[in-house]
Symmetry: C2
Subunit: 504 residues, 2 copies
């Protein structure tokens, strides 16, 4: 498949963003007066009169946490009920005021801050658990509930949330659903397209679409809720979520394996899946460069120098199951099988023997991100490509940069790969001395073209947001994008919802 897409410079992106909102009206003072009729004063932050809130109150809403995307909104609304959300949208739709729904604002692609001066609709005050059924494990919650709070809420009932992310302390369930968040539990519990049972959504004209069922099975017509999962707030505002929470595992364990060659990763994955079957909960890949960086930046080594010698890459395997002794027996048998094979797939493996060692092994994997940020400036790509091509994508990118004369101490220092083998999700990081235009030019559209050549995804879990709208054609055909635009028009004919996101 050959894909041709226009690549936008920063300047043209800025122009595009301005033109994205020219059909929209800025918020005016009389709009604030209208909102004040049904919102309490604490639910309105606005630099406009009569609120005249100080600029710093708006700042955290106008900027993303990476400091990369910046909006110029004058007004943040924090409704407390679905009805208030409906009243806000009805008014904004009539007045053609752009609306940006904002959850925890923890996204990585600028999806939750305005591209211009749209109203920010913060869901943070819509944060009650509506119901939890400990028998079925079905939780119904307001969209603004923080993921960690929900995890804490179901824990006493021996349930867990089906998703887990680094941002769990800030991100909200509505935002998780709107961005189809992936995270660490996808291998085991599947995507939100399977675990979300129902949604309550306010459509751009204020209509409330109530599909907040608690049914596991419902074959009555088109499954509309699926459209909102991953739409990044461009079709409506998710106000309530019904989600299936799995029973908490009673025991977790992990092991780190050193492999002589990347070629062994795939047969290893097959063996591990067969041996561990239903208790396998993570299978994470770290290449040698990434491993060395993590160790260099202070991660306690689970493996000795001798263990590591001759290893081309590493794999972290986690199990979660209903009984510790059974899981340990399965893991021990797996290790024995691997180490006593005629042609061993691994050089060595270390099984955690304590909660501290368990954490230490995870810290090695999770420490790669921190090591990268300490080492320099990183270009991060979150892509889906076939498992078998992980190493090739990393190696080819490195060679490509070398051929451009960019692989040296004052340009690109490292090209590393790590990620979720089980999900086909590779984190490709290019660690540079500084952000340089020539590096960016060498990387894009090069990497998007590589991804397209594998029929991969340019965004496995981070989404499109404002950052990748121009790159969407690398992963989606013109037919798909045309249908997306038609669906956008059905739900949001005036284009007020999160303008400039997902679709150009």
């Amino acid at each position: 498949m050959f894909v041709c897409a226009r690549r936008a410079s920063a300047a043209s992106l800025r122009r595009a963003h301005l033109s994205t909102t020219t059909h929209l009206t800025p918020v005016a003072e009389h709009d604030i007066a209208h909102f004040s009729e049904f919102l309490s004063p604490s639910s309105i932050i606005s630099s406009l009169s009569p609120r005249s809130s100080p600029a710093q109150e708006l700042e955290p809403f106008n900027n993303d946490w990476m400091g990369r995307f910046h909006g110029r909104s004058t007004t943040v609304l924090k409704p407390k009920t679905t009805r208030q959300v409906s009243q806000i949208l009805k008014w904004c739709n009539e007045r053609r005021i752009g609306v940006v729904p904002q959850g925890g604002n923890t996204g990585l692609v600028g999806g939750s801050v305005p591209v211009n001066d749209e109203v920010i609709l913060s869901l943070s005050s819509l944060n009650k658990v509506r119901s939890f059924d400990p028998v079925s494990g079905i939780l119904v919650a307001d969209a603004g509930c923080i993921l960690q709070s929900l995890t804490d809420y179901v824990a006493p009932h021996n349930h867990i949330m089906p998703i887990d992310l680094g941002a769990k302390g800030s991100c909200q369930i509505g935002g998780n659903v709107a961005t189809n968040a992936g995270g660490l539990r996808l291998l085991r519990y599947g995507s939100l397209h399977g675990t979300v049972l129902g949604l309550e959504v306010v459509l751009p004209d204020g209509t409330i679409l109530d599909q907040l069922t608690t049914l596991r099975k419902d074959n009555t017509g088109y499954d509309l809720k699926q459209l909102f999962i991953g739409a990044e707030g461009t079709l409506g505002v998710i106000t309530g979520v019904s989600i299936l929470t799995p029973p908490a595992p009673q025991a977790s364990n992990n092991v780190i394996l050193a492999l002589p060659s990347f070629d062994n990763v795939l047969p290893l994955y097959q063996t591990v899946k067969r041996q561990l079957s239903e208790i396998l909960s993570a299978f994470e890949f770290i290449d040698r460069t990434a491993y060395d960086l993590a160790v260099k930046h202070g991660q306690g080594r689970a493996l000795s120098d001798e263990d590591v010698a001759g290893a081309e890459c590493f794999v972290l395997v986690e199990t979660s199951g209903g009984r510790r002794e059974h899981d340990e027996e399965k893991l021990n048998d797996l290790l024995e099988l691997l180490l006593t094979a005629d042609k061993p797939l691994i050089n060595t493996g270390v099984l955690s023997q304590s909660p501290a060692q368990f954490s230490s092994i995870w810290a090695l994997r999770e420490g790669v991100t921190e090591a990268v940020s300490k080492e320099g400036k990183a270009y991060k790509y979150d892509i889906s490509v076939p498992l078998s091509s992980f190493k090739r994508v990393v190696d080819d990118t490195r060679e490509h940069l070398r051929s451009k004369g960019l692989l040296h101490d004052r340009a690109v220092k490292y090209v590393i790969g790590y990620g979720h083998v089980g999900d086909g999700n590779l984190h490709l990081n290019i660690v540079a001395d500084a952000y340089l235009p020539e590096i960016e030019d060498a990387l894009e559209p090069y990497i998007y073209e590589v991804v397209a050549s594998f029929r991969g995804s340019i965004s496995a879990e981070h989404g499109i947001g404002a950052m990748k709208t121009h790159a969407l054609p690398y992963s989606k055909s013109a037919v798909s994008i045309d249908l997306m635009k038609k669906i956008k028009h059905v739900f949001d004919p005036r284009g007020i919802m999160n303008p400039g996101k997902v679709l150009e």
Copy 2:
């Protein structure tokens, strides 16, 4: 929620079906001539000249397997490639000829036969496996592949299909996806909305929508494929499916439990989930009447008369796991826990000790259907309601029939309930001496109203088809139905795709 829906008589349904297709053109001889330009003679069955196929060749395509729904199509086309499907649809769209996609024709709601004289597009010749990756378990297959063939195809790789149905020997994967089939493995592997990774769909105008990715994660815009899952062929024709197949479990086991009271089912379900955790693969409920009927009609009893005395209902628990001895230990411990409790939730339980006993326990559950058909004429409702209301729905229906004077030997003989507790899916069967209009009038809309009062689903897994279009408002709001119609219009503005199905 109060839902008001019009109930249609058989006569008005017939009229509705005829008016459903008045905007469409019947197939004519020159259409057959056109199809002959790109289809081989064996791919065209038509009573029209020059094919002049005998009527009996068309019969199996025009009638559903229950003999309940009857079409009057003159022409069946059996394309062998996606391109041929595209050519057919392009022509039919231009000529406004209605098209009914047909897989194994095993549905229960008349979704796969014409309501009038539409063309039948049989997918049965589009039946090749395109690829299977034994590492990821991702299978890509033509839509016409029979479910059992795919099960056989992945078996040597130690994988299973994530769905399993009674109709697996005839039903096709494309039909499974189009109807969002549930079946016996949903509790364990989730719905097709989670396991289907990609689809190839031919849109009504002949455009091929290629979203046949093999990615587990892809967050690039709206997840369009989800709309086709469960759309019952009303938005386009599914021609290819990419699906995630799980590793085959190494061991399966089951146990039948006798409960003194229905009230114990829910606490039992909680205990079983906690104890068996990830190896639980089925939790099926059978009420006493259903159990007695199965035994009366020849099911070998796993339980003795003494065991059964005082039991109000029964539960079948199945485990599937990676190691037999671990699973057996967990099951044995569960039984001991249940039997030695201060206030036991069960009277007794019998664990299968051999493959023959394993099958015999399942036969008891599956034998309910056969027993019902031997006992009389059955009105079958496939509904989703909260687990806690299963018994109440059955009891209330029985009382309702009694209050109408219809509960006696020459009218309704039994009202029974059984089904998938884990999925919230109740099969409510009313067994009568004969089909009588007064029974039907007593049952509908009564049962749909009961379901609506619980915010349940009038069709948990069977779909809407031609049979339940009039009842859709009991499960979906006017806002939802209006959006469905708009989406239908986006994909199929001329209304050629499976007319009269899903939406009135």
